[in-house]
Amino acid sequence: MIGTDAEIRKLSNAIAEMGGVAEANLSRALDALSRRDAALAAEVILDDKRLDRMEKQVDEQAVRILMMRQPMARDLRAVISGLKIASTLERVGDMAKNTAKRAQILAEGPAHRSIGPVVRMGRQSLQQLTQALDAYANGDLELARQVWRRDVEVDELYNSVFRELLTYMMEDPRTIGACAQLMFVAKNIERIGDHATFIAEMTSYVVSAEAPPPADERPKAPLEAGFDEPEDSAPASGAAPSVGSNAG
């Protein structure tokens, strides 16, 4: 193997592995939520440390490649996007962990009818994440484009779950505690959808050298007003660097 090939491949493998752990943790957090399984939630919380370590390893690998190989063009973009995706996956892991923590709290109380819809929304986000990672691993622009377009669906699910939870809280104030937990979980899941979108954008960046669009150009359902976080909470929003020209 000559040049950067072998090292870029190792980096991609490390990202794929990290993606696998993030997916598994999200999936198990959703299981813990739907089955109200506090023990499983505890496992997810512990396992998040692994993602933190993996992110560090990806960082180190990327720095090594930059230092020793000074890659150009697609290889350079692979390293840059690798760094960004590793930090995105680390945050997905944090959201899975946070979901697991709330699943522990919810496991102590009675079952709530909104758990089902939130978990379904979670599965949708998980599927988006899986496909985004597949698109990235295979440089599949078509799949990336699909993921990118479908984030609206998660947003719409979020809005409907959000309204549903508000209604329950108003109907029965005794459920406010559980509903508030679920609102945070729903928000986590909505953000994971955004992270999947970002990974899809990175796929396009690596393959086509096009810098991703500004975050506000994403197809996005307007989120429930007043309860959403400010715009800048979008994941690692947008701008991938491009090699500047020496003109001017």
């Binding site: 150009m72 484009r145 096009e210 991703p212």
Partner: protein, 267 residues
């Protein structure tokens, strides 16, 4: 969002006047075909980098631009090479005059075994560019200043140029090359024998000179090409494979061979 594949962008329109227009250039060394049907336009007042694997013909083509190949007996150059619209291989062109317009700096600093002053004054003297000692002094000083060497040598102008450090010698050669007030500066791997600090000085110098000259530099350092040039030409096996804006060549090359080469994947 454009999730589409990059269109192979058409070659960017020139920003500046053309200095060289070359068409159908072929170079043979005896039977060996070193440059194959090459066409390129080189713009004025910017830096063009030639990159490519060893033996691909970068130096050969560079030497066509000031007829330095004339000095190699087995070398035969054919085709159309125009400088400011004039055929530089036309019989009435004096290669010595041409080389005063198209200066050259080589890989190994090669000062003459003369004083620092005489190294720089050599060209202006043979071309009769100055009419008095004062004028010549001023030209030597301004050339050394432009080359970023004046401060280091002004007290030892009568000392031999060969007594300078490698980086200083290279800057002396640049001062010598620009003393004849050329329009074009050809540089064949000018930094390959220099340390990173001396390299940085030469690169800064290239940046400073760019507004006054057409500069063509051959380099094996992709990072150097990306740093100093605005246009990059990739050569492979005597062909010009890809030529375009430096940012595009190093960001989104159109040809797989370019992408492989700039990432060190050529076997």
């Amino acid at each position: 969002m454009t999730l589409t594949m990059e269109n192979p962008a058409a070659q960017a329109a020139p920003r500046n006047d053309l200095k060289f227009a070359c068409r159908g250039v072929n170079v043979h060394y005896g039977d060996a075909h070193a440059i194959k049907d090459l066409a390129i336009d080189i713009e004025d007042r910017l830096v063009t980098a030639f990159i490519g694997p060893s033996g691909c013909g970068k130096s050969t083509f560079l030497r066509c631009l000031n007829r330095m190949n004339d000095t190699i007996s087995i070398c035969r150059v054919t085709g159309d090479l125009k400088l400011d619209g004039e055929d530089i291989y036309a019989p009435r062109v004096d290669p010595v005059q041409l080389r005063a317009r198209v200066g050259m700096v080589f890989q190994k600093p090669n000062p003459f075994p003369k004083s620092i002053y005489d190294n720089v004054a050599y060209g202006p003297r043979i071309h009769g560019l100055t009419s008095s000692r004062e004028e010549l002094d001023a030209l030597v000083e301004s050339s050394l200043t432009k080359a970023g060497l004046w401060g280091e040598v002004k007290d030892r102008l009568d000392k031999p140029g060969t007594g300078l450090s490698g980086g200083q010698q290279q800057r002396l050669c640049i001062a010598r090359a620009i003393a004849t007030k050329p329009e074009v500066l050809l540089m064949d791997e000018p930094c390959s024998a220099l340390d990173p600090i001396a390299t940085d000085r030469i690169e800064q110098l290239i940046g400073d000179l760019r507004s006054q000259f057409c500069i063509v530099i051959v380099t094996h350092s992709m990072q150097q090409a990306a740093r100093v040039s605005q246009k990059t030409a990739f050569f492979h096996l005597g062909h010009l494979v890809e030529y375009g804006d430096t940012a595009d060549i190093f960001n989104k090359p159109r040809d797989k061979r370019t992408e492989d080469y700039i990432n060190g994947r050529f076997g």
